[in-house]
Amino acid sequence: MSRRSRSTTGRLPLVLLLPALLGLAFLLVPLIGLLAKAPWSTLPSRLFSAEVWTALRLSLVCATVATLICLLLGIPLAWLLARGNLPGRGLLRALVTVPLVLPPVVGGVALLLVLGRRGLIGQHLDAWFGISLPFTTAGVIVAEAFVAMPFLVISVEGALRAADPRFEEAAATLGASRWLTFRRVTLPSIAPGVVAGAVLCWARALGEFGATITFAGNFPGRTTTMPLAVYLALETDPDVAVVLSIVLLLVSVVVLASLRERWLSGLR
């Protein structure tokens, strides 16, 4: 009951603790390096430039919309992978993770080949509806969703496979259709997995660079997200790049920490 006895039972074996601390240091030290390198004296003036805010706002909007799209398409896909009785499900599951393995730039080229002005689908979009995705904010969202969706799908699929399908059977015997069962029984039971997946997805979308610049190009206010701005700043003024990185870092940490806290505590 006392603090002491609790800490005794909770003590980690050294063989776990040492690599754990090493791992933590490995993740954190580069961030500390970034902070140490930051030009603190000129930071405020650089921070309040219009370009920074434009890029930051664009990043946040695009990452959020991309995450919503991933939720909308990714949860059903995860459900199909976990519950659907498909032939070649293993192969399908491997294919879903392709965007993770693909160098993002290649992913961007692939998107151009399909959704570009002369792409398989893109040419029809252009001819019939006058829609052209490259070089637009919508294009940024498409690129980010493409790269980030596997994180959501894998996370949600894992949660679905861990969830007990007999609860769905119980719902069915109570007269619930599969859709109602999914909404009122399955989804609430996998909520932690969905939140974890959405967080990963959002973070990946926020940091997305290669596919975005390849598919959507780079134009301030329209497609220049923070990572693109960081990359170009690195060409001329590394200090600006550091400032932009820190801004992106802080905003994402604040958003993720507060969201996670709220979501997960609400579920407990």
Partner: protein, 353 residues
Amino acid sequence: MTLYADLQVTRGTFELDIDLTIAPGEVVALLGPNGAGKTTALRAIAGLLPLNAGRISLDDDRWDEPPKTFRTPDRRPIGVVFQDYLLFDHLSCLENVAFGLRARGIDKHLARTEAARWLETVGLAEYGRRRPRSLSGGQAQRVALARALATSPDVLLLDEPLAALDASTTLHVRAELGQHLQRFTGRTLLVTHDPLDAMVLADRLVIIEAGRIVQDGAPAEIARRPRTEYVAQLVGLNLYRGTATGTRVALSDGGTITLAEPADGPVHVAFPPIAVSLYPEPPSGSPRNTWPATVTGIEQHAHTVRLTLDAAPSGPSTLLADITPAALADLHPTPGQLLHATLKATEVTSYPT
């Protein structure tokens, strides 16, 4: 409206092939050892498992008739209480009970009122806002029952409804369940491996082994005249098959038993373990059955000790005998010990197979 179920399901090497009918108001217990196919039968009726052949119908209303007809569970008027209840933990008890009503399109307010009434019926009126996780086993079982009954199903399916409870609550919950089942006007199928549950709760027992019905009848009838070793053990009887010639029955596994009344041809012979007496020395009196028997097992029960003996070759190779603590003190039986078993012919029942 009677439920007809001609259930034929094949899963791997296992084959279920049984016929069930349940009349309105009737409680039928499906009793059998593990792996006999009880739960498979229940799942088939619930629609959680499609039939390979056969038919399930409620009078003319067909639920499953391969290859054409299959109604999914949500479109069958059923209520199911699962072995571990499967209450939805993200919903309150009230919402759990209201779930089926809401799923069937009943308006939220009405569904909640009705659910509250059901919770009251099972004696949990004040637990509506609690989460299922915070309930005791007995309470959870009652919520599960309320949830299954709330939609006024035509068929109620209970899968080992008392198995997850500890011994002290089982007695009470079983009695309560009995009362609810008596009031229920639909058809009830109770799946259980516990003969006591079946005897107390059911109007009729259907006993299955390895996917086939081995015996079917009223509890008292089955208790008196078991037809398989499993059933006999369930009701606590020694049961053997043999061929009768007058008062002498040659057992099919070897040994003989003497009857009080003569019989002829293939028969079952049965007697309770308490009818067997044991002695350290060959007894001097004249009971009609006396066999040297080796102790093979000793089991402590509530008020008696049950011994398993091997009386071959003169008697049955598996013989159950119940002895009192006083006799236990006299005999000090140990496995492998040679005793002498006696059985009065008047204690032995025989009936044709």
